[in-house]
Symmetry: C3
Subunit: 219 residues, 3 copies
């Protein structure tokens, strides 16, 4: 089954580029906040946008990774970096819009990452895990390079991993029951997207360890 071809190649490619663009925006904005120069902005945009997919491709043995074979994947983060470089006060003002796009990227990447991992022969659990890693890996690399605690791990951030886990799990369930179609995978991406929007709107948080006596955030 050519899982990669669930969507027409051009539709798939366009969705990928949109996800890459919005992730790159989030990386470039952090670089501006950290006072990095224009090259730091470009590097952080590239790493945020392509890091998750790069990790997935190395793990499944898809070398050279798509990040290095598709020129569009490489150029798109540079465009995002340029946008932030010249317009960042406006981009920051529309931070809410950026977060919505980032949620869209999360939904798209967890679904496409899961499907690509499965098409390379990984099991269902491993595919879902790699789909999650594809969706959140770039953000973790972004925070590590910026010398910050990854926001993925912090308890005082709205849920980020859970929407991606749900999306990835829906895809492997569809594969398991042989009902993976453009419609069902699109629905999985939409579910992850909406869950992330709700998590932000309603400030859903995950619990910390039981019996934790101090609530002081250590950082």
């Amino acid at each position: 089954m050519q899982l990669q071809q669930l969507f027409s190649p051009s539709v798939q490619h366009t969705l990928d580029l949109i996800g890459i663009f919005v992730f790159a925006i989030s990386g470039a904005l952090l670089a501006v906040r950290k006072n990095f120069d224009v090259f730091g902005i470009a590097v952080l945009a590239e790493v945020t946008a392509l890091g998750g997919g790069l990790f997935r491709d190395l793990v499944i043995g898809a070398v050279p990774p798509a990040a290095f074979t598709d020129l569009g994947y490489f150029v798109t983060p540079l465009l995002a970096a340029l946008v932030v470089f010249f317009l960042h006060p406006h981009v920051e003002r529309i931070q809410a819009a950026v977060l919505v796009f980032d949620a869209a990227g999360l939904g798209l990447f967890c679904v496409s990452g899961t499907m690509k991992a499965y098409s390379y022969g990984l099991g269902l659990t491993a595919s879902a895990t790699l789909g999650l890693a594809t969706a959140v890996g770039g953000g973790v690399l972004r925070d590590v390079l910026a010398n910050e605690v990854p926001s993925l791990l912090r308890w005082d951030r709205d849920l980020y991993a859970v929407p991606a886990i749900v999306g990835s799990a829906m895809v492997v369930l569809c594969i398991r029951y042989d009902i993976l179609t453009p419609l069902t995978s699109g629905f999985a991406a939409l579910t992850a997207f909406v869950l992330r929007l709700l998590a932000m709107r309603l400030h859903w948080r995950a619990p910390r360890a039981w019996n934790r006596r101090s609530t002081v955030t250590e950082e």
Copy 2:
């Protein structure tokens, strides 16, 4: 020579899972101390337990890595995360026991990592180096994700790398002189384990650079 089969597969697998479990405990405990939420605890448990082996497998071209093909490798750290999540005051109280298990993991991983690297065609020095990387890599990733200086590198921590280096070196010497058996490799793992215990008990430290005039720890 089927180096991987030195122990019966089921014995080898059980030893691996024990090593994975204790490393995962150390990752989950750090996550609790850093005030991460339940997903942060799970992520840090997975990364600590599987990071070293993942690096080794990517380097020797064993893709997809064992971490993604063996469900037990993936589930074990989640169990460790659950244990810490619900019982962490008790787990912390038995911190000494955790350190003993971690030392056992160090001994097991440096030996199994060296043997796996050699069985994939690497030279003796490279195999020992990768064995060391397998044993300490997960802990380094744990500390990097938690935004701390890797305790592996700090002078004010008891020796950690040296026991693993000794264990890895013993394995390659056994290979070199063709005396690698379950007994000798078990003895190498035991030696690394005991050396680590002694390093903790006697606070063995490695020297810092000569002529260092200031002793202030910079951090």
Copy 3:
């Protein structure tokens, strides 16, 4: 075309070892400044010297990477670590010389990294990007392990990426127009080297994002 053989193998190998040595010196010196012990010094020397090439080899699928197949690549950083361990006040005093050697390493690695990536079938843009990553990747890993913001990304450091970008770009232009010879590739390495020296001498800096109202460095 056997791009790897542009120089005679022994000349190429010697140039590689020189680049590895000087990068390792910079890693070992940072380890001393961070108060790491002798193993921390050795680890940071290895990572700084071999990290960029390791990343490149994983991406192009050249496994096991050269860092693990060539004993000289592994031993050279250890020698650099020993030199720093015993002589670091003198090495620090000749910091200017170290920076000159580091600039030479930058020039050599961006050129050899680009050529190796191209010889493994990557496109011109991807090859230049990987050449850049080869040259700067070790330094980024060094700073991440030392828990510092990568100096590559900071606006208050003299230009480092641009000389490597120029060197890599010159190599792919030479490939594109079929004029890659030992002479032209040597000229590309020399250009990157001289540009880096000029950047240090004249304190060339890259701009930060437009309209940034605050100039306070956040760290």
